[in-house]
Symmetry: C2
Subunit: 358 residues, 2 copies
DNA sequence: CTGAAAGCGCTTACAG
DNA sequence: CTGAAAGCGCTTACAG
């Protein structure tokens, strides 16, 4: 029987059923491993599936069983302007987390539906909303949406935010910023004996940054160090932002503290660069630390002392939390992952003495 | 009327229709801008949609109109081992292309469903097949599948490969490798007067690499240069592979040609590094060139002369081709994008003389 | 173990 | 301009 293939070329489960001489229910069962089909039934179906190269339609499947097996991931697209080599790292940063999400997702048979958002795109909530319609849940990278925006989304679909704050409607996964900053401050003050500290902040609207800044102030006071603060210390997570802070501080004739903690490695990159240009030596004159441990951190001059966040685990954990919410309607509201102090030379340690603090 | 919300929380178009006091057909029409609904109808629907934060279900929509508005993207996950700083770039490389795909996709209202594949994953075809079921078309990065595997996939869904070769069933988008190599060879031989050339190859199974190698041999002969070839020149696109080639060549006591073209920038990175360790000066003793123009290329010592591929455009173009196939059943089988010679110093030019060749 | 049938949430001719 | 109804391709009770 030489029937012409359907014009659209869209093979359905009916085609498989016909070729195998069984009902579509049987086809569906063997494809999904449900029930206990007879060996012969199973064989005939599998043969037909193979012969036709049949793949079930994901949309129909999703509609039928209420699960798309897709997780939406939204992140900010940078402008693409870079100040220094290594700046592209932030890119990688997001990517490593996404990779972690993907690893977690694959374990559960989910795929990632990704969508980036530009910094000055409008109708962001609408765009993400449309994404939500195509996914079972959403993972939002840092600084994507206001609490209100998140609440609206969480109304439609489970939402996990990264490095944010949990809201009544959404769950959050982040690293232990407090512990990271605490370890850094203690290392600088107790082990190196530095008495004055500064903190070049990240974007003012970043929860991570606020937490770090607050931990910095609290901990510095706790160990009796002087701190230098104020508007002049406002950075924005970029190398350019870090360089700017140093330049304005110096231009204003202010004396730099003995050690400067930076909101992230990118910032530290800019700070070290600007300092070098002004002839200020790191770490002899001023010790510098970062946060994140991006790949270039170890290659800076001097190698950067920083805090390593388990980014891939962060992504995988975000997925797991989302998944438990999707499948069981339960999920931890606030998850905090441990970080690790990475002591290199920019703090004043020498390469031989540099090792992990406790 | 205080009706309890549906337990599942799944809002449907019926809920919107009821609240707005219209039929579901009307809701659908205003949501999709079809027909000419009365202003009042439109208002009532929009109000209801907003009040409920309603987002139509993507699966149902896709099933109904035969379009998921999703493009599947598949790429290789690297092992994560790195030899030198900058090696992570290959990562970025894929990412830049994906970003291009995304830009193209967004223009058409599509999202990206991404799935990476490990180098030693099995049942790759099945995995990609499942992806195909969730997408309207597939874009495959380099070296994902055999021609037979691609053919099977192309049977289910339109397929565009990147940097491969088009098959009867799939379309391909690549850069003009021949022109890039030709420009490089001419620059080295004609402008610098080098008479002997070598080519450190990429993976043997990469179409891009084969094209480059072939162009290298053809063009070198055309301009009358001597070439050094053979198994000893086999690299694998990684810095480690490039370094290996140099080390074995030197260990075997072979005289290096005056100029060495590398299959890509990563390879050049390793070659330059290995050469430096053996005290061979670049470009004074041996000139080196790359291919790709990854971000670190300009920061190498010496800055790398290479060929820039328009990666983001490559991704965007791949999407457009796929889209034209999805929407109009037509699509160019083989698309070649122009490249640009980027002359820096590793070829022997000085920073003042370095400018783009023709 | 297997098949007939209902239903998932939309879109879109088809009448009115 | 608008509504009732069919249909997209699956899955899964429900009978047999």
């Amino acid at each position: 029987m030489a029937e012409p293939k359907k014009a659209k070329g869209t093979l359905t489960i009916y085609d498989v059923a016909k070729l195998a001489g069984v009902s579509i229910a049987s086809v569906s069962r063997v494809l999904n491993g449900q029930g206990t089909p007879r060996a012969e039934t199973r064989d005939r179906v599998m043969r037909a599936v193979r012969e036709l190269s049949f793949v079930p339609d994901g949309a129909a499947r999703a509609l039928s069983n209420g699960l798309k097996e897709v997780v939406g991931v939204v992140f900010r697209r940078e402008n693409g302007e870079t100040y220094l080599e290594g700046e592209d790292e932030s890119f990688l940063f997001i990517d490593v987390i996404n990779r972690g999400i993907e690893v977690g997702a694959r374990r559960r048979g989910f795929d990632l539906l990704i969508s980036s958002v530009g910094f000055n795109d409008d109708n962001v909530v609408e765009r993400i909303g449309a994404l939500a319609g195509k996914a079972d849940g959403l993972i939002l990278h840092d600084r994507m949406l206001s609490a209100a925006g998140i609440a609206r989304l969480a109304d439609m679909v489970p939402v996990v935010t990264l490095a944010g704050t949990s809201t009544p409607a959404s769950m959050n996964v982040r690293c232990d910023n407090e512990a990271g900053i605490r370890d850094l401050v203690r290392h600088l003050v107790i082990e190196h004996g530095y008495r004055s500290l500064g903190y070049v902040s990240g974007r003012a609207d970043s929860p991570d940054n606020r937490t770090r800044q607050h931990a910095f102030e609290t901990e510095a006071v706790a160990v009796g160090a002087e701190i230098d603060t104020g508007q002049a210390w406002q950075g924005n997570y970029s190398a350019a932002g870090g360089a700017n802070v140093v330049e304005s501080l110096l231009a204003a004739g202010r004396k730099l503290p003995r050690a400067i903690l930076c909101a992230n490695d990118q910032t530290a990159l800019g700070v070290i660069h600007a300092l070098a240009q002004r002839g200020v030596r790191v770490p002899q004159d001023v010790a510098i630390t970062g946060f994140d441990d991006v790949p270039v951190a170890r290659h800076l001059h001097p190698p950067l002392t920083t805090v390593r966040q388990p980014m891939q685990e962060l992504g995988a954990m975000a997925f797991e939390i989302l998944y438990s919410r999707i499948s069981a309607a339960a999920g931890k509201a606030d998850t905090v992952l441990p970080v690790e102090l990475v002591v290199r030379e920019s703090c004043g340690c020498t390469s031989s003495s540099a090792k992990d603090g406790a």
